[in-house]
Symmetry: D2
């Protein structure tokens, strides 16, 4: 059994990977580290874990980070993992990070991201020399790099849904002007566990709230990735909407097609592109938010306008799984040469 | 007091106008007519009406339609009111209809709508000679026509949100290519009271379901209206999404601007365009679904992309009020020379 | 027009009474006072009020409390109004308070309440000499006292639903052992506007959380009132449950009947008891949470066990209206000799 | 690998057991049988199953029932399995049934149940001679009988939550008068997949609806079981409430204690009673609806009144798992001598 350490273990991201590891055939949980709730048992923090895990959360300043484990999983905010990166690299310890710290290959790309991020003040990367050793963790596109990399930057939740949804069209240079309009709908859990006015039940229940219009930080990695796939710069016009549901991101993505195509041609191309990928499903009808909830699937479908000029791609993911912990688990599986499905093979929870 | 008759009184649309009429200073309810639940008291059908209305629902085949009232309100499916239109016109009885029957000026336009409608088999209009006497009931744009018209075709719910949201830009010829992409999110009540798989609670709760992509029947009236405002044909690429909420439509509308403009310029233009309109509010930040629920408001805001080339207009309405009964009441107020706010002056229900 | 001042104007309780006053035929809003958001316009704090109210919130330490108005409405936490009570009484200014400060006739009763309250440290009342001048504001039971009183203690939300639901049985001494078991379900808005872990959307959505079992502070006023009605001490075994909905309290109340009775007899007695009360509706079938949402109604029904020994009384109220601001408005109407329905005559928002 | 056949495979109950079987280490799905959707692939009926199961649904009149399998799982309405029971018994084929057909040991007990069931017209059992060979499938109480039985009657969802919650108190004769008052809250999925007015989204969303007060058919098996445990007849006063959530049953159960006990004593007794049971968890604080959703757990806690006379037991289950398919899987595991956890070891889906 490999041993995994979770840093940021008491947030929703840490909880997600903990639950996956607890059912994993090849991993065990080495330790839980978090600033909040340090000293408490994890099944006190999350009573639904009773009988499943009774580890005590350790404080991050205890020197525990990176010890007695094969991989460290940082389910932490931006700019946490970069502070531990050098020490872990020196010790030959592999790690994966949920934040934007290791999603970008260059400091320039990182700076663009940092500038768009509402809570990053300093655009300078704290471990710039390690960026070249990190892989961007979309396993469907960059699985080989993930397998070889000592560091993996797990993608942003919106980015995961958009990139998987659009990659076949951009890779085929099928997008006129390399430009896409995206309206995305997200559940509240993406904002984490901390109470806040936008996530207050009485406010959010039965509500839809557009936010950070044209200004969300996940656009950077999305446009860079799609641009790289197509060979020329890509532009993503992105409007996120916060929704009164707990889980899920449904992205509706509009492109003008570079050459006419039918829905059937596009679906066929998508099936071919993702052939062999266990967690991408190409559907004949629009995906639904609930059709992926509780699972690691990304469901995709496409519709074409009557004149054949335009396509709408729709993708659905569980933001806490395929948009976060599920993809992290899939990446860790690849890093350790395991079946990508290990610990992840469960159906959506429907109804 | 004027007297209003409601046909289709036991659906959500009939219920909505009934509640407004019961609180109206100038109207009283003459009679309730419906095929379903005929013979029952309305407060048996809707127990929440107890103590507010105890009228018995009358069957439509009773000859009652159009009798003993000043106006008939058809809260009925497509192709019902056109069957009674000639008889009402002959009797000099004014009426308003919720369906597509009288939204179009010509039989050609109606046929385009009918072809897109999933439940209209026959594209031929049943009262073609009366189309010229009907006004399309967007009171903010066509108030004068509504005031003078013996027949009003109340707009479709999605159309109301899109047209009010986009009219200033199209009227100013600010939309490049006269083309707009719209993702709209709607609550379940727009589908009415009849149980159906898509509206089954266990399916719809916590769900988002895109449907009729590029194929919704409300596009016809929207593109015709926007085209007429701008003087050249308009194209609306429309993706409706069904949402696990009861009330509301939030429309996110993307255009390329014909000439650069700042957010402030656009907001200022919107405020000017809707000056004096009691139910359109132009907000400095994105509207929310819940910000209009329970009221007749249409809340609108605009964001402009960093390069100034693109705008996103967002509008929020309560689909059962501004998207249906509220606009109907507003239209009826105009038809009778009353203050448009009569019976409608209530705040959104927040939280 | 009378003039009302709202203290605590930016919480949900203050918002509720503000919206009612804005539509009231006999009242205008004199001023808004609140510690939070002082200096901001109320329609910035609550954007859904745009076009309806643009008053600026004033700080409570500004000396404004009690000035230039006919009545002060304290929508404030416990132990706020008692600090202003003497000064208002001296000035002959009437006031109503949402908290427990003036619900009790004696300091002993208050101390019992204070001991059960999770956020009251000091059981000593700060204006004990004024308790005798205050009326407990259940208008259906104590309307005469409310009319005459310079001070009204508005009831707790759970207490309102329980007392109105049980008063006829206790007044008739129909409850064996004067003992009742109550399971109550409440929406999240009762906890107010401030973000907190229990009201965090991701936690509360789709959830039910029993809390303060046998220990809720609203039991004190309920048992005292029911005891007084029946002439001997009453016991209320109360279990509140927090629910993933925004509005409403549904209380299910179990009693053993002192003498056998049929459902019809009980319903008849309830109708007689509440005859002439505009906001109590006795239904033949169980009330629903949504059947009162958005209105000032308390809907009640009763079922009797097959052996005739037991009755279940169910009541439904909107916790923010009949459970708070609606009853406050009704009480203020009585205090000023107005129709109790003034400003309150609106239907539930259904569906 | 054992082979299981699912009858009624396209309802929520059939779906639930299908998903469990698909992940089971010792079972494979032999065939899917259902009246509705016969001839369609199951992943067309439920698109979220794409990539997980592509079996075609077979019609029940095809002679397929009981063939080529080791066990038949009837996820069917009342009075379906009794029609196939003799033929299966003759063939030596074991089966489990979700309905009330085989929950009762005698025809008298069945008749009492049938009389209370709103959709059973005929109280005569159709396979009376087989009742003695059936076990009532609460594995925590009757595991030995289940292991040995050729037929298992899976419990009703409400009954499961009540019986597991109350068994320790009744077994210890701790309940005064052997009488309990239960308010239970259920999600909509218990009513199944078929659209109906009560489960219509616009009606049920944000709603709570008490129904069948004192008259629910699950009371029969609950009172019989609790009575048998305690050695004298038990009475259950039961009020179910339909809730606007998809999954879960939270039962709040009130008893007078036969002798005083503290909360800690009771919790200790519960832990002892359920020692070794993998799916019962005794919590120190009230269970929540969401704390078991998506899992096979029954979470229980207890509170005692200040005077020590009364206890409130609260239990939470996922109505589709511990209340239906999960318990069925657990029972089938026992029938085949497997670990009761096989195929069921997954955490609740939180948040």
């Amino acid at each position: 059994m490999y041993r995994a350490q979770i840093v940021g273990a008491t947030g929703y991201g840490g909880l997600g990977i903990l639950e996956l590891l607890l059912q994993h055939p090849n991993f065990e949980v080495a330790s839980l580290v978090a600033r909040d709730d340090a000293g408490r048992r994890i099944d006190e923090v999350y009573p639904h874990l009773m009988g499943r895990c009774s580890l005590t959360v350790e404080a991050p300043d205890s020197g525990v980070i990176g010890t007695d484990c094969d991989v460290v999983i940082f389910a932490t905010p931006d700019r946490v993992s970069m502070g531990f990166a050098a020490q872990l690299a020196d010790a030959g310890r592999r790690f994966i990070d949920y934040s934007g710290d290791f999603r970008f290959g260059t400091t320039e790309q990182y700076a663009e991201y940092a500038a768009a991020h509402p809570s990053i003040a300093d655009p300078a990367h704290g471990a710039a020399d390690l960026l070249g050793r990190a892989a961007y963790g979309i396993p469907e596109l960059f699985g080989d790099r993930v397998t070889a990399a000592p560091i993996v930057g797990n993608p942003g939740c919106f980015a995961a849904g958009m990139i998987i949804g659009l990659a076949p069209l951009f890779a085929d240079r099928m997008v006129e002007g390399n430009e896409v309009i995206v309206d995305a709908l997200t559940g509240s859990s993406g904002a984490g566990k901390k109470p806040a006015p936008l996530q207050h039940f009485s406010h959010l229940n039965d509500n839809v709230v557009p936010y950070r219009v044209f200004a969300h930080q996940h656009v950077t990695e999305t446009s860079q990735t799609l641009g790289a796939l197509s060979g020329s710069p890509a532009t993503v016009h992105f409007v996120p909407h916060l929704l009164g549901v707990t889980r899920g991101i449904l992205s509706t993505m509009h492109v003008v097609l570079a050459r006419p195509a039918s829905k059937q041609e596009l679906l066929e191309r998508y099936r071919e592109f993702y052939d062999g990928q266990p967690f991408v499903r190409v559907l004949p009808t629009p995906p639904t938010l609930k059709g992926t909830a509780g699972s690691n699937y990304c469901d995709i479908s496409v519709e074409v306008s009557p004149d054949g000029r335009r396509a709408v791609v729709m993708s659905s993911i569980d933001n806490l799984l395929k948009g976060q912990s599920g993809t992290a688990m899939q990446n860790v599986n690849l890093m350790f040469g395991l079946d990508p499905r290990a610990g992840l093979d469960r159906p959506p929870l429907y109804p």
